[in-house]
């Protein structure tokens, strides 16, 4: 799988997320427009990558922003990470869709909605979603071996649990767990080094 990262983040610094979140909580329609202009393209691309259908992705993108709009009251405008929350909601909507289509039921994993509670997204790195971080991630991703990249793709873009990954890759569960854990540690380590450099 070949990835490209060059999103255009030109508008990302045009308005601080803190101010944007405050306006969203005041139900300012212009704030929703600003939120969409800032994160809509990234959210849409992410959803397309997961569901592989532009029409469905547009429906899910609208659902994403509807959910964010309706849940802004629970978001901490002072300490919250708006971009991280929007992308998490977007991914969850897409993964939920995949699961509903192929009839995958949740067996051992937690419900996705529990992982997107707005109050959880506090004290994260400010301005997390930006072109520098995307470039760093791409660099880190390329350092992974093929198996490690595959487990990241299966986890993030297909929403497979480790057991499901093991079945898909026809590998022992322990092996898949090691690949997943190592890959995620490498990615995070690379990102942290880039921040501290």
């Amino acid at each position: 799988m070949i990835f490209f990262f060059p999103f255009v983040f030109a508008a990302l610094d045009a308005e601080g997320d803190r101010d944007l979140a405050t306006r969203l909580q005041r139900r300012d329609p212009q704030a929703l427009a600003a939120l969409y202009d800032k994160y809509g393209r990234i959210a849409f691309a992410l959803i397309v990558r997961i569901v592989r259908d532009h029409g469905i992705a547009e429906d899910l993108t609208q659902e994403t922003f509807l959910r964010v709009w309706n849940r802004m009251a629970g978001f901490d405008a002072e300490r919250g990470a708006l971009g991280a929350w929007v992308l998490t909601v977007a991914r969850n909507r897409a993964i939920d869709y995949l699961r509903s289509v192929d009839g995958r039921t949740r067996q051992n994993a937690i419900e996705l909605s529990a992982t997107e509670t707005p109050a959880v997204f506090v004290d994260l790195e400010a301005n997390l979603i930006n072109s520098d971080r995307a470039r760093q991630l791409k660099g880190a991703f390329e350092k992974l071996n093929e198996k490690q990249r595959m487990v990241i793709e299966l986890a993030y873009f297909e929403g497979l649990s480790q057991t499901e990954m093991a079945e898909r890759m026809k590998q022992p569960l322990g092996t898949v767990k090691t690949w997943a854990r190592t890959a995620l540690q490498v990615l995070r380590s690379e990102l942290e080094q880039a921040v501290s450099a």
Binding site: F44, Q62, I110, S161
Partner: protein
């Protein structure tokens, strides 16, 4: 080694909703204890997972999508949809009065009253007041039946549907299975008006109900019916 750090590398899977037992239980226990190290790992995992979203290839959405998203915040949408709903509702009542042959004098008075009601509802400053927050509001509906004309549903606070799903209206007879009365999808603000035209045997109908179905429809409800409205004798 700090037990929390033993789970280092698993928090990303946890926040992706993919971690299985027993690891998931251990992490949840760490978080329940409000362990600072666990909180730090959770924050880092949220960051990593958010950035992973930028790995997706760039794709441009249509301009139409922006309009769709912005319609979520249109303050007039709710009022407009309710006005339309009440206009449709009142029109249906008027038609019902005509059909049932109310005497001319009484009908004239009723029509004048309905016209006044319509004029009131058509005023742009007329607003529907609702109690509670959006998340607290439960689905509500008014159902109008006319044995010769059909069933009209006016609903609000309907939860957003997953893609590929629609609301189905059913007439539940006193004997036998529910009869499908059409599919519909609510507006972004959760309101809906659905009219299923056609004769309905009200003598045999016990209730009108809704369920969530595939948007191609189902011969019978596949999810638990809700907003069940009895058809009074």
């Amino acid at each position: 080694m700090n037990p929390v750090n033993d789970h280092n590398g698993l928090y990303e899977l946890y926040v992706l909703g993919l971690l299985e037992e027993p690891e998931r239980g251990r992490i949840e226990e760490d978080l329940r204890r409000n362990d600072p190290a666990a909180r730090a790992l959770l924050r880092r995992a949220l960051e990593t997972n958010a950035i992973l979203g930028t790995l997706a290839p760039e794709v441009a959405p249509s301009k139409h999508l922006r309009r769709r998203v912005l319609s979520i915040a249109e303050p007039r949408a709710s009022r407009l949809s309710w006005n339309l709903a009440w206009v449709a509702l009142s029109a249906c009542l008027v038609a019902g009065l005509v059909y049932t042959g109310v005497q001319r004098q009484g009908l004239q008075a009723e029509l004048e009253q309905r016209n006044a009601t319509l004029a009131f509802l058509r005023r742009p400053e007329t607003r529907l007041l609702q109690t509670g927050t959006a998340e607290e509001r439960r689905p509500v509906a008014k159902v109008f039946v006319n044995g010769a004309r059909g069933v009209l549903l006016v609903a609000a606070n309907l939860p957003a549907l997953e893609v590929g799903r629609a609301y189905a209206m059913w007439v539940v007879p006193k004997v036998g299975g529910p009869r499908p009365m059409g599919l519909f999808k609510p507006l972004a603000d959760g309101t809906a008006i659905h009219l299923q035209a056609g004769a309905v045997n009200l003598d045999e109908a016990a209730a009108v109900a809704l369920s969530v179905e595939p948007d191609g429809g189902s011969p019978a409800p596949t999810t638990t019916p809700f907003l069940i409205t009895p058809v009074a004798e």
